[in-house]
């Protein structure tokens, strides 16, 4: 497992003006599955990995346009933690947000084949996510 909490997220917002939001308890999240969270108007997918690392990405699936990323299957590809989109099964790295396998599809017009990642911290069993 090569992911750590501190790892800078690829497309994450600037770290200076982070506003952290308390989202839920770690125990509210299901091990090795995703859950959706609503932060203001922003929908976020939270994934609880086997070692209780939590990763947050956009909930929007770039290939279907639906807000469903949290419902994909969590796994690994060559040791890298991944999520597979539940609609058309693209596979994304949860470390970088990059799409590792487009499954032969193209993203919806105007969308990039990658997931925006948001900074996450688990403090005293409470999950905090920073969105802008």
């Amino acid at each position: 497992m090569s992911v750590t909490q501190e790892q800078p997220a690829a497309a994450a917002p600037q770290t200076d003006d982070l506003s952290w939001e308390r989202v839920c308890l770690l125990s509210d999240l299901f091990p090795e599955r995703g859950s959706a969270a609503l932060l203001g108007d922003t929908q976020v997918a939270l994934f609880r990995l086997p070692d209780d690392v939590v990763v947050a990405t956009q909930q929007l699936d770039p290939f279907s346009g639906a807000n469903v990323m949290s419902r994909g299957i969590v796994g690994t590809r060559a040791g890298v933690p991944t999520v597979a989109a539940p609609v058309y099964k693209q596979v994304y790295s949860l470390v970088t947000g990059e799409c590792l396998d487009t499954a032969g599809y193209s993203p919806r017009p105007g969308r990039e084949p990658r997931l925006v990642k948001y900074p996450v911290e688990v403090r005293d069993g409470v999950v905090h996510v920073a969105v802008q």
């Binding site: 989202v23 839920c24 509210d28 999240l29 299901f30 091990p31 090795e32 599955r33 859950s35 959706a36 969270a37 609503l38 932060l39 108007d41 929908q43 939270l46 086997p50 279907s64 346009g65 639906a66 807000n67 469903v68 419902r71 994909g72 299957i73 969590v74 796994g75 690994t76 590809r77 060559a78 040791g79 933690p81 991944t82 597979a84 539940p86 609609v87 099964k89 596979v91 919806r108 017009p109």
Partner: protein, 874 residues
């Protein structure tokens, strides 16, 4: 096009197999559109697969015999005139006249008029009840006759007097016809004038073995018997008995004459073309007749001094003429007359010089008279070069030896004849020019090139690319072998590994989990997972292996699919116990076993759909689908459905979906069995059974087949005596008709047969492999499946029965179990920090009185009628 820019006119007389191939090949190659083709067919239908004619008794649907891509006949450069025989050719004027008196000009003319069934001049050959066996109309009339005779012979008390059939002629066709009579429920006796059956193809020794096999099928054989007359029944005037040269007699209700074919050269004759000694339009190796603008192909052509009654040489002639018409120089490559009898359960094949007529030829024979096995190779005098062969009772060596015709055999020829496992025959490496598929004239080299040059990576690809194995299919095992060898050679691993986490196939993993008695993913990947190079563990699985393991665990009975670690393995559909739709909402399908639903049930479904604003549609599986349910609504919807007595329909699972039925004998005037009752029983028995792919069943109450059961993985069709069961059908991308597995079963036998079939499939199929392809791949094909299920050839039947009994006993409604468990219910939250808030981005527009998701354009233009919540009245 020619210099004037006009297309040239090509007229094809005859709409049979060879004409079809000719037009197909011409359209594929004539990219410049040089030729405008008119095809005149005497029969009232598109060209069909005559070789598969006997299949008509089973499928009863002429469409099943369709040849090639039917779109060929929509091509603007092709006009097919059906039911429109050509009656005359005027070679001077270069025109033909059709039966309606219309005259059509041609630049080039192709005769593909085939043959007629020969009718020997036996007195009484025109009596009602005497049939030939050549066209769909012939077999349809024969079937009607047998059915009518059987009905007439059935007493009010249900006693059925057998219909007595005779086939005159013991060749390939006669044996096929005798098999067809048996399949129609008639008795059959084959009358053969010569010393033994299939005298053209096999020698006397083979004939003896064959007679035994045919007798074992319940078919009588009278060799060395001349039929001197057919006599009418006194009262009916229908054919009543046969009289033989030796003074014997045989009572009959139906006679099929299969004594050979005559080329249909009547047009050629009256047009003054040269005719062969024994008929047929004489052609040269370019397939040109004595008139350079008239070509003859197929059975009507007399080539190298004879007419050939097989389709492969006809196809070769078609290709030659196409090439010539496009300016090529092709010549007829010589006839491949290898044949294989298409009679289920009787293995007979011969090729090359089967009778050992070559000078100094040597014969190597292996015979086991008790088992009805006779195998012979004909070799050159040095015992090396293969000249021909005969196989009776075990044609396994045929597919790989036939292409070696004329080549040197490696090692001891006898080794090829020993029973399988009896003495390792050397591996055959076919030369590139060996003809593998004689129907479509595809060589081993062409198959290899499909892999090396055209980048085909599997047998399906090679078939599509080369057409090998697409006609009679007998060469498929060989095609597969060559393809896989070539793939390996090209360094393309024919990997059956599930994914990067498991080297095993699904079937192997299933067995491993079952035998090792493992119950969690962690145990399974720890024990059988692959550790990638440089990694310290096997990883945590992926979207491929996790659902496979989930399905295996479910099939083996490990409790609820959301229990414990299993919940992490489920695809979103199984995880939410509903079907994900494009906008991220789900559809909900309650079970309606056999498509049966009470008025009260319908009202509840209607109310639920109305109250939650769901779009409703009737599915192909005879139940109701409700669309647009949000994650957080699913438990509320199901609470109401469960309270009204509904349960999960498993529409979301790779599992049994529905058992479709027609209304059956309880209401229908024609039904012979209670199809709805049986469908309900089957659906309740197999509900919740997880499988490699979705499973659909169907039950029809009579042979009219209104439930379309033969389009299902398991199709059950009622007969007077019980049930016939068909397996391996499906709709979808590659539709398949199910094939007959067993006949006239009692209720109990039917259930046991399906139990075993499904369990065997669940255990041994690949991931996402439907029953149709599984049957193709599994050891021994359909026949192998039949042996495992009906004869317990692997000794696993009791185990399969027990596994199914366990499934039935452990069934619980998945949705009810979720509603009873707060921990599982927690999964149905829209947002972890706002569990009952609807996804604010959902948007809908009205259509035909219901709602559907808004398109991007509609969202942009603001015509949205409703967000996620407005219409909800609950």
């Amino acid at each position: 096009m020619d210099s004037s820019g006009e297309s040239r006119r090509l007229v094809v007389v005859g709409g049979g197999m060879v004409a079809q191939r000719f037009v197909e090949a011409l359209r594929a190659r004539d990219t410049a559109g040089t030729w405008q083709v008119d095809v005149f067919a005497e029969e009232p239908r598109k060209p069909y697969d005559r070789v598969a004619l006997t299949k008509y008794f089973e499928v009863r649907d002429p469409e099943e015999l369709t040849l090639g891509d039917p779109a060929l006949w929509d091509d603007p450069a092709v006009t097919l005139h059906r039911d429109c025989a050509v009656t005359a050719i005027d070679r001077e004027a270069r025109t033909v006249t059709d039966r309606l008196g219309r005259v059509h000009p041609y630049d080039e003319l192709v005769l593909a008029t085939g043959s007629n069934a020969a009718m020997p001049p036996i007195p009484g050959n025109d009596l009602p009840g005497v049939f030939v066996y050549r066209t769909i109309d012939d077999v349809a009339a024969l079937r009607g006759w047998v059915e009518q005779k059987r009905e007439a012979g059935t007493t009010a008390g249900g006693f059925v007097k057998p219909v007595r059939g005779a086939v005159i002629g013991g060749g390939l066709l006669g044996l096929e016809a005798a098999g067809a009579l048996k399949a129609l429920g008639a008795e059959a006796t084959v009358i053969e004038f010569g010393t033994h059956l299939m005298g053209v193809q096999i020698d006397l020794g083979g004939g003896h073995a064959l007679k035994r096999l045919i007798n074992d099928k319940g078919i009588g054989v009278r060799p060395q018997t001349a039929t001197s007359a057919m006599k009418p029944h006194k009262r009916t005037g229908h054919v009543g008995h046969l009289e033989f040269g030796d003074g014997g007699r045989l009572d009959v209700d139906v006679v099929v004459v299969a004594t050979g074919v005559r080329p249909r050269d009547e047009l050629a004759r009256t047009a003054g073309l040269e005719i062969g000694e024994r008929g047929g339009a004489v052609v040269d190796l370019a397939c040109r007749t004595s008139d350079e603008h008239v070509h003859a192909i197929g059975e009507v052509a007399c080539i190298e001094g004879r007419c050939i009654g097989l389709v492969a040489p006809g196809y070769a002639m078609a290709e030659v003429v196409v090439d010539r018409l496009l300016g090529g120089e092709a010549t007829f490559p010589g006839a491949d007359t290898a044949t294989k009898l298409k009679l289920s359960g009787v293995d007979v094949a011969s090729f090359g010089d089967a009778h050992g007529r070559t000078e100094d030829a040597m014969e190597v024979v292996w015979a086991d008279p008790a088992a009805g096995v006779y195998k012979k190779l004909v070799l050159s005098d040095d015992a090396r070069t293969l000249l021909g062969g005969v196989f009776v009772g075990d044609a396994a060596p045929y597919a790989s030896l036939r292409p070696m015709l004329g080549s040197q055999l490696p090692g001891d020829p006898g080794a090829f004849l020993l029973p399988e496992g009896g003495g390792g025959a050397p591996a055959l490496e076919l030369p590139d020019d060996a003809n593998v598929c004689s129907c479509n004239n595809v060589s081993a080299g062409t198959i290899r090139a499909a892999v090396t040059e055209h980048e085909c990576t599997d047998v399906a690809g090679v078939k599509a690319c080369t057409r090998a194995g697409t006609t009679c299919g007998s060469c498929l095992p060989l095609v597969k072998k060559i393809t896989n060898t070539e793939l390996q050679r090209a360094g393309i691993t024919v990997s059956n590994a599930l994914c990067e986490h498991f080297e095993l196939t699904r079937a192997q993993l299933f067995d491993a989990v079952r035998v090792a008695d493992l119950h969690t993913f962690t145990e399974i990947i720890g024990r059988f997972g692959r550790v990638p190079e440089g990694a310290d563990g096997p990883g945590r699985g992926c979207d491929i292996c996790k659902p496979v393991v989930a399905s295996i665990l479910a099939s083996l009975g490990n409790g609820h699919i959301l229990a414990g670690e299993q919940a992490t393995l489920q695809d979103t559909n199984d995880h939410m116990l509903a079907n994900l739709q494009k906008d991220g909402t789900y559809s909900v399908v309650p079970r309606m076993p056999g498509g049966e639903v009470t008025p009260e049930g319908l009202i509840v479904v209607g109310e639920v759909a109305r109250d939650f604003g769901l779009y409703t549609k009737i599915t192909g599986g005879q139940r109701i689908d409700m669309f647009g349910a949000r994650v957080e609504q699913l438990p509320d919807i199901w609470r109401r459905l469960v309270d009204a007595g509904f349960e999960s329909g498993h529409a979301y699972g790779k599992s049994l979906r529905t058992v479709k039925s027609c209304v059956g004998s309880t209401w229908c005037r024609y039904g012979v069995q209670d199809s709805v009752g049986m469908a309900v029983d089957l659906e309740l028995r197999y509900r919740g059974l997880r499988s490699p792919h979705k499973l659909k069943l169907g039950v029809s109450g009579c042979a009219r087949e209104c439930a379309e059961a033969r389009g299902k993985d398991v199709g059950v069709i009622a007969t007077e005596k019980g049930w016939n069961v068909y397996v391996g059908g499906n709709g979808g991308f590659t539709p398949r008709h199910a094939q007959l597995l067993a006949e006239d079963l009692t209720d109990e036998e039917l259930v046991r047969t399906i139990d075993r079939f499904l369990m065997y499939y669940v255990r041994t199929a690949d991931r996402l492999q439907r029953t149709a392809t599984w049957i193709q791949d599994v050891e021994g094909g359909l026949e192998g499946v039949r042996k495992v299920i009906l004869e317990d050839s692997l000794g696993i039947a009791a185990d399969l029965d027990e596994a199914m009994a366990r499934h039935v006993a452990n069934y619980e409604d998945e949705w009810r179990a979720v509603l009873d468990d707060p921990e599982k219910l927690r999964r149905f939250s829209s947002f972890v920090n706002a569990p009952r808030t609807a996804d604010p981005t959902l948007a809908y527009v009205p259509e035909r009185g219901q709602r559907r998701p808004a398109t991007d354009e509609e969202r942009a233009s603001g015509v949205i009628i409703a967000g996620p919540k407005l219409e909800v009245r609950a």
